[in-house]
Amino acid sequence: MEFLDGYIPHVIGGIAYGLLLFTVASGLTLAFGVADVLNLSHGSIFALGGYIAYALTDGTWTGLVLAVLAGTAAGALFGGGLSIAVAPLAKRGHLAQALLTFGIAMIVGHLLVIAFGSGEKRPTLPSELTQPVLFGGNYYAGYHLLFIVIAGMLAVIGWLVITRSKAGARVRAMVDDRQMVATLGTNPKLVLAGVLAVAGALAGLAGALGAPILGPSQGAANMVLMQSLIIVVLGGLGSVGGAFIAALVVGQVHTLGVALAPQWAPYLLFGAMAVALLIRKPPPLLLGGRA
């Protein structure tokens, strides 16, 4: 037990990182599952949120709250804009979307580097949050604990909205039968734009709120996108619940794996993804429209 004890902070850190990834990946999987958009610029939205947090935080609680709200709003705008950008490509499939959003990611990523420099940036937190917290003989990063609480609450709220609310019912109906949704008097295009805005907002929020855990940089944007894609595939395309479990696993591999087997951690993720694909056939809906 004493041997394991030393790893508990890593486990907690892994949960925090997993929830961070879940916030990003849930947006990616929503955009894909509901709006049918493969967004390779999702990592850039994360970085955008992070840079906004870096720019707006000044060590006060107001600054932190403001930064998180601004990051979320910027992400929502980005997502809403994306829904306009991909609209003309609706008939052209995912490859066109992938190329378009990759182009956008290149441009946004480059502009962010011009504006903020290429190094990793960290926001300035209120001093209460930078103190390590002593609990059961181990020190924990205070911000990680706060992040776990907030992100966990967000996950619960998100789950309630999707499963219990009218808006959530409309979104779920979009997956099942778009034309029926239109017939019943809801404009599917608005729902799609809304879903992409929410997806963007989630990435922007994760970027701003998660900046103390993973600071924004071009490398962070790429890594978050790659790990989110892995989570989306592991969890099952379009499944938010699956993404939640997958994100926690990936978070543990990322932090605990690095502590236990630093050489192997990056490969474990890809191995897990290959195994998941091997033991489970992808859902027929998403096979690319082929019978």
Partner: protein, 324 residues
């Protein structure tokens, strides 16, 4: 039925004519351009094989890969390691690189060929990224981000002079690329190509007819990997110094876009498309220096919007149909 046969025939005739012209033009390049351009052209030829590898899968099987840089990197570093240990003869390097890439694709292929559509795109993207991470970390082989450092020149055959001059290494790349493309074109127009296109057009029917769909696609994936691996070997031989960034995700995306520009089903088109993209990249590298990503990003967006069905519906042919 006759329609599609006829269009295939015209396409092949076109390809042949264009091919001969391109080869003649390319072979005379050393008399026209300077050494630096020639070295860039050798690079284009090496990456042209990477584009061919992507185009073969995208065009015939509707499997657009973002991860062909992985077997490309395997071929590239196989050649680097062999040259460092004293094996500098071209055929040995090419065969070894092809074999290493084939083995690599054979192992991964079992997972890859089970996927279609977006999952295929994501899985291949992950494989490409994985290969890039390995090439960054495996410093004893790759030198990490510092690059491999300068190594010896390749010999065309046993006993010939090492190819240190840009024109000799360029002709070597051209000869290998032409041979590989001819073999690929032969395979694509023959039975293997027909079987794979059958899977693309109606997979359930092919299965019902008793075809071993998984085996065919594995064959395709390994074959495409061999082409990419040979491209990687040419890259290593022509540049004599390689970096992990020679096989990263940006390269994958660039090559895939080149294939879309060139028209997915046409091998020559893929190489021409790649030439256009590489030229633009090199131009923007000198003209606007550090803002090259901006130019390429804009290019991506322009291509997506302005080249839809115009290029023989290239996008719909390789692209995955949208989920209804």
């Amino acid at each position: 039925m006759t329609d599609s046969t006829r269009s295939l025939t015209t396409r092949l005739l076109d390809a042949r004519l264009v091919g001969v012209l391109i080869i003649a033009l390319l072979a005379s390049m050393p008399f026209v351009v300077d050494a630096y351009t020639l070295s860039s052209l050798s690079e284009v030829l090496a990456m042209g094989l990477l584009a061919v590898s992507v185009a073969v899968m995208a065009g015939n099987a509707a499997l657009p890969s973002l991860g062909q840089v992985a077997p490309y990197a395997v071929g590239m570093y196989t050649t680097v390691v062999l040259i460092r240990s004293g094996w500098t003869v071209g055929p040995v390097l090419l065969l070894a690189s092809a074999a290493a890439a084939a083995l690599f694709c054979l192992i991964l292929g079992f997972a890859v060929v089970r996927t279609r559509g977006v999952v295929f795109l994501m899985l291949t993207l992950a494989i490409g990224e994985l290969a890039y991470q390995v090439s960054q970390r495996w410093k004893s082989v790759t030198g990490g981000t510092d690059g491999s450092g300068r190594y010896d020149a390749t010999q065309m055959f046993w006993g010939t002079e090492p190819m240190v001059k840009p024109e000799s290494i360029y002709w070597y790349c051209l000869a290998v690329a032409v041979i590989v493309v001819l073999i690929v074109a032969r395979l694509v127009s023959g039975t293997p190509g027909k079987l794979v296109r059958g899977i693309r057009d109606n997979e359930a029917r092919m299965r019902a007819d008793g075809h071993r769909v998984g085996h065919y696609l594995l064959g395709l994936y390994v074959g495409a990997g061999v082409v990419a691996g040979i491209g990687g070997s040419l890259m290593a031989s022509s540049q004599r110094m390689v970096f992990p960034s020679d096989s990263n995700f940006n390269i994958s995306a660039l090559v895939l876009m080149a294939v879309v520009i060139g028209g997915a089903a046409s091998l020559n088109g893929a190489i021409v498309g790649l030439g256009v993209v590489m030229l633009l990249r090199d131009w923007s590298n000198t003209a606007v220096a550090e803002h090259s990503p901006l130019v390429l990003g804009v290019l991506f967006i322009v291509v997506v919007y302005l080249l839809p069905g115009g290029f023989a519906g290239a996008a719909s042919r390789i692209g995955l149909k949208a989920v209804p």
